[in-house]
Amino acid sequence: MARAAVLGRLNWRAADVVGVVPETARVKTIQFDVPDWPGHLPGQHVDVRLTAEDGYQAQRSYSIASAPDGTRVELTVERLDDGEVSPYLTDELRTGDQIELRGPVGGYFVWEPERGGPLLLVAGGSGVVPLMAMLRRRAAAGSDVPAVLLFSSRAWDDVIYRDELERLNANGLLVVHTLTRAQPDGWTGYARRVDREMLAEVAPEDAQVFVCGPTPFVEAVASALVELGHEPARIKTERFGATGGRDG
């Protein structure tokens, strides 16, 4: 065990559910208290492990939604109807339950205020989750690093973190929504998929870019940014597989 400790093995930890908050019809945030949580960077993810009574186990990865905050870790999970793990997390888990987490994982798709900006965050649906951790960290640190969040959702009621994003939309952060399927009456914002013209309108020059969403979304956004002259090495991407979740 001493050797494992020296090598910094990420052990499974018991995580206590301390709250479940609906975000949209299909998305919930699950709040955990994880004793001895080592802390995390905005953008990192965790592995979740569920065990059935007969010992059968399933693992998936989920991005952390919360800014670093002691032993508190929040995951925002979209329910995939044909998923194995996400329906359990969104429908069954309640305060007082325990599941197992391992992490934090990933050292590339991360941002902290000290890394500066300007920042361009481009989210498709629940791809907003790791980007929200960055924006929450930015707000908690009182950072005024210029930042733009371009957030593509299907409809106004599908916008994850809608009220909180409205509150954060100040101090150098600009939140821009595009609604691809349905728009409320009187909507004056973008009403189409993210494209090159939209990116040209909102992207700061020389931005550090983080793009997260389904694979076709990320492919389209990253390619358009390269065409607009953004340095490929400054564009960091994270994609969901066709099977959803972070990637499952």
């Binding site: 492990r49 990933g106 564009i235």
Partner: protein, 202 residues
């Protein structure tokens, strides 16, 4: 720690999948998810080559046409991504690394695969030889799509799939193991799925 039972969790066992083909913590998917850290590069084939660099004597470089002129193999293998999905019986076409290393003198024991876009990954040389690794340019009977690493990617199916570098352009042969891109960002230096070597310290 003994696992915590998740009240009411039944899971979805796959009776149609032999358990000895699915490493611990993995699930089988019919899809082919994509995971990349940055934009997809698009190098024209007339500017593409594959090189052996580092501790090798002489020049070892193949243009696209030269690579495609080498004898190729059809490979049917299971692949395992560290993000938990496994895909069974994937069919590839590619040139064995043994073919590329044939007649090459080197004292190196490790290799760093390098790719368009700056991606790197490290492997022991012995994991690339002996019929265990290929430069693959076709998948499912079609030219390999850019988002899956085309025109050519490394194929090292016995290790987690991040070792199968997309958009591969060559191997740098080195004396010591040098962490590549993911290996410098929290992922295991070797990455054996059957020992569940996902992260540092696993």
């Amino acid at each position: 720690m003994s696992p915590i039972i998740s009240r009411g969790f039944k899971g979805r066992r796959r009776d149609d999948v032999p358990s000895d083909r699915v490493p611990p913590g993995q699930y089988v998917t019919p899809d082919f998810p994509v995971l990349s850290a940055g934009p997809t590069p698009h190098t024209p084939l007339d500017q593409w080559d594959f090189a052996l660099t580092g501790e090798v004597d002489g020049q070892h470089r193949w243009t696209w046409q030269e690579l495609r002129g080498l004898s190729a193999e059809t490979i049917t293998v299971d692949i395992h991504c560290v993000t938990k999905w496994s895909k069974l019986d994937t069919v590839w076409e590619g040139v064995s690394i043994d073919t590329l290393l044939d007649g090459v003198e080197t004292s190196a024991e490790y290799a760093v695969a390098f790719s368009d876009g700056g991606y790197t990954t490290n492997l022991p040389l012995e994991d690339l030889t002996g019929g265990k690794a290929w430069v693959a340019f076709a998948y499912g009977g079609e030219p390999l799509g850019a988002e899956h690493g085309g025109p050519a990617r490394l194929l090292v199916p016995h290790l987690y799939f991040w070792k199968s570098a997309k958009w591969v352009r060559g191997l740098r042969l080195v004396a010591y193991d040098e962490p590549g891109f993911w290996e410098s960002n929290g992922y295991h230096l070797y990455g054996d799925p059957w020992r569940e070597q996902r992260y540092w310290g696993d």
